[in-house]
């Protein structure tokens, strides 16, 4: 009884140490490749965290009731903003090798200079951490949260736009697209709802969410279904406009992603983030079927990771690889995130018992 738990307790730190060692080696051996993998993993976690924080904020904003019983899951996942604060400062190391900046001395050169970018990154990370504090599982006053919800919506929009323009667009400074922030937000919603679904199913499996019925699951499924369609819409609109305009300085961005091995990855992305989950969740019964929900959420999270790689790597000129460097970075980031989740899993009560709307939320029926 004691031994397995010791092994389990030691497994995560061991993985993290191994990953850190490998990452250090990768950083020395091939900086662009290392930073490519690092930013992919970082953006994956950051967008997931924002997507999770979005859910309690939306609940407070519109006064939703059904999501009250399962609110702790996204609240706890949202606390990832805390470990991501140092992680985003580490990510600034990529500015030299991957982010060329803008030549000259004008306003845009100043905007894209490492100092300005570091300032924005730090500000974004701080705002996220602050949001996680206020919206998180340990926060006190419900009135304060409701009041903060609209402010969080602004933070959500600005941080994702900053990530889109700085982390994604900064690699190719001459290229621009004002939909990219919305594209990232669409992915962030999906990742957030998929993570919440998996977390809710896990807690429910452990019997920690008594009273949570099939109707609650149905709503989670419906949200995932709606946002797969939304992601498909945004991704298609983005592609269509660049394809149609066919301007050399715009279309090159897609050309990189439709040539060589990236063409198949682009197709896989459309399937993973839209085609398969959409078909899976289309029947009404499927939306409250735990197995199907878990499958859809898993596909969506995998698709989100692939999406982040698809945004970053082709612009650097790298193919999609899974060598020891990528595995090390993944191991490090993954075990850190899981380690944090193990801590966050115990934050606050599983059901938000102090919330006056909890009874209404539990009584929710379609």
């Amino acid at each position: 009884m004691k031994r397995p738990s010791t092994i389990r307790a030691l497994a995560l730190p061991a993985c993290a140490a191994l990953g850190a060692l490998g990452s250090l080696g990768a950083w020395r051996a091939d900086p662009p490749r290392f930073w490519g993998a690092w930013i992919t993993a970082f953006l994956f976690l950051q967008t997931l965290m924002l997507g999770c924080l979005f859910q309690p904020a939306l609940e407070h904003l519109v006064g939703a009731r059904w999501s009250v019983p399962l609110r702790r899951v996204p609240e706890r996942l949202g606390t990832l903003a805390w470990p991501l604060l140092p992680a985003s400062l580490l990510t600034l190391g990529a500015l030299g090798p991957l982010y060329p900046g803008w030549p000259g001395t004008g306003g845009k050169a100043a905007w894209m200079s490492p100092g300005a970018m570091a300032f924005r990154v730090a500000l974004a990370a701080l705002l996220c951490a602050l949001s996680a504090r206020i919206l998180g599982p340990r926060s006190g006053s419900p009135a304060g949260r409701s009041r903060f919800a609209p402010a969080f919506m602004a933070i959500f929009a600005l941080v994702l736009t900053q990530a889109a323009y700085d982390w994604v667009g900064g690699i190719t400074p001459a290229w621009y697209s004002d939909l990219l922030g919305v594209y990232l937000a669409a992915g962030s919603f999906l990742a957030g709802f998929a993570a919440t679904t998996l977390g809710t199913l896990r807690l429910r499996g452990q019997g920690r969410l008594p009273g949570l019925g099939a109707d609650h699951l149905h709503n989670l499924g419906a949200w995932m279904f709606a946002f797969t369609a939304f992601w498909g819409y945004i991704a298609y609109a983005h592609y269509l406009l660049m394809w149609y305009g066919n301007l050399p300085d715009e279309a090159g961005w897609y050309r990189l992603r439709l040539e060589g091995g990236w063409l198949q990855i682009s197709q896989a992305l459309a399937l993973l983030r839209f085609g398969l989950p959409f078909a899976l969740l289309l029947p009404r019964a499927a939306k409250s079927d735990a197995r199907r929900l878990a499958w859809a959420a898993g596909l969506l999270l995998g698709g989100h990771l692939l999406d982040m790689a698809w945004l970053i790597l082709p612009s650097i000129g790298l193919p999609l690889r899974l060598g020891w460097m990528e595995v090390s970075v993944g191991l490090f980031m993954g075990s850190m995130a899981l380690g944090w989740w193990a801590r966050a899993d115990r934050m606050g009560a599983d059901l938000p018992e102090g919330d006056p709307a909890l009874a209404q939320g539990l009584a929710f029926r379609l």
Binding site: D178, Y233, L241
Partner: protein, 440 residues
């Protein structure tokens, strides 16, 4: 629902309040109002006839501003329509109970707005009796429309939108028409309601199919409404005109449409509830919820304007920078400033709960949004077009009195249709309120 209240009595009271409106004699204000709107409509139709007879040279359109009031009004009216679909479909899926009381009215506004919108492309083609050439059908000329043109997408999108909105509206009306049929005295009205209600008898089979169809239609209409205004935005965004070729356009247009539509619903519904004495059914809670939507959309519009301005600077492109400069400075600068003020600044008043619940603030804000959204389309279309890549082909645009008269006529038509609807059809979906059981 409190157990002491008799639900049957409340349902009867609801019927007597809502369904009695089409049954009674026309109130005196109704005749005066429809005389006003109908004469404006007549003026608009006369000017449309003049346009068709003389050709579109009677408009202010000129090279390079080939699209002007015709397309501005089209985009404006289609956008107004979207609030209706949003209220009836998206809010149904989100189970927002407050939508039930206003959904029927909003759906009707959708249909009337799309009718107003449809007139403009028809006039825009210049020879409206040949507009069927836009449809793909085998013909002796062996010609086919270009399916890669966003203008053909528009035909499909707006055509589908009108058809589906009409079906959605009609499906919801059938049970209420059956109620009207049963209440009517023998005569032409009874005959009309009998015909339109198709012999609906409210059987369990019928209600089960009805409920299922309503949810399915809501889901389809939700996707449709987003696609329609995205397709409208493609009319601009697939081109490479500076200021039009922006990837943000599809969601930005959808948000703008919802924004303008909700403002219009607030305006019309406020008047209707006072004029018809429906304060108990259409409450301040409804207006408050709609004001919140307007505020939220206003913030999203602010984000879109911010992104456009930022991108114009970030792109470091002389033409893009010039296009955005034209929007806020120079000859047409006032239109851009007015747009920003009406769409972003003024709606911020709605943060205060007391102001959301006061006609004195709510109605001017809704009016400002309506004006602001019309001018937004003016900025997008006219200001971006009047100066293109060649300096030699810059030419200012000035509308003629025909343009202004047709715009006024479209408003006249819209309000005439609203007045007819109020007079002859149940303006609240009584069967939906009956199902909710918390009415009256």
């Amino acid at each position: 629902m409190s157990p002491s209240r008799n639900p049957a009595l409340a349902m009867a009271a609801l019927d007597d309040q809502v369904l009695a409106i089409p049954e009674g004699a026309a109130p005196p204000w109704w005749g005066r109002a429809i005389a006003c709107t109908a004469s404006v409509t007549a003026l608009g139709f006369a000017l449309m006839a003049w346009t068709v007879y003389r050709g579109i040279g009677v408009w202010g359109n000129t090279s390079p501003v080939f699209w002007a009031f015709d397309i501005i009004n089209f985009v404006f009216w289609v956008g107004i329509g979207h609030a209706g679909t949003l209220i009836s479909a998206i809010l149904l899926l989100f189970r927002q109970g407050w939508r039930d009381a206003i959904a029927r009215f909003a759906e009707a506004m959708t249909i009337f707005a799309v009718i107003c919108a449809g007139i403009f492309p028809l006039l825009h083609v210049g020879r409206p009796w040949l507009a069927f050439w836009l449809f793909p059908y085998p013909n002796q000329r062996d010609l086919w429309p270009n399916f890669r043109s966003p203008l053909v997408w528009d035909v499909f999108a707006v055509g589908t939108y009108f058809t589906v909105s009409l079906l959605f509206w009609y499906v919801g009306l059938v049970p209420d028409l059956a109620s009207l049929r049963e209440r009517a005295r023998p005569g032409w009205r009874r005959g009309l309601y009998t015909l339109l209600s198709l012999g609906w008898r409210g059987s369990a089979t019928q209600w089960a199919a009805f409920g299922k169809a309503y949810v399915l239609l809501a889901g389809l209409a939700t996707a449709l409404v987003i696609s329609v205004h995205s397709v409208v935005s493609f009319d601009f965004a697939v081109s490479i005109v500076p200021g039009w070729h922006m990837t943000l356009f599809p969601p930005y247009f959808v948000v703008g449409a919802i924004f303008a539509g909700f403002a219009m619903v607030i305006l019309v519904l406020s008047v209707a509830r006072e004029a018809l004495g429906l304060q108990a059914i259409l409450t301040w809670d409804h207006l408050d919820a709609m004001a919140k939507v307007v505020l939220g959309m206003s913030c999203l519009m602010g984000y879109a304007y911010l992104m456009e301005g930022f991108t114009a600077w970030y792109a470091q492109d002389a033409h893009l920078a010039r296009a955005f400069g034209n929007a806020v400075t120079g000859q047409y600068g006032w239109t851009g400033i007015l747009t920003l003020a009406c769409n972003v600044a003024v709606p911020q008043l709605l943060w205060r709960r007391a102001w959301r619940r006061s006609y004195r603030v709510l109605l001017p804000v809704a009016l400002a949004v309506t004006v602001g959204m019309w001018f937004e389309r003016f900025v997008i279309i006219v200001v971006n077009l009047h100066q293109d890549y060649l300096p030699s082909s810059s030419r200012p645009y000035v509308p003629t009195w025909v343009d202004l008269g047709i715009l006024a006529g479209s408003f006249g038509l819209f309000f005439t249709l609203v007045l007819l609807f109020v007079r002859f059809l149940p303006i609240v979906a009584t069967s939906e309120l009956k199902a909710r059981g918390d009415h009256a």
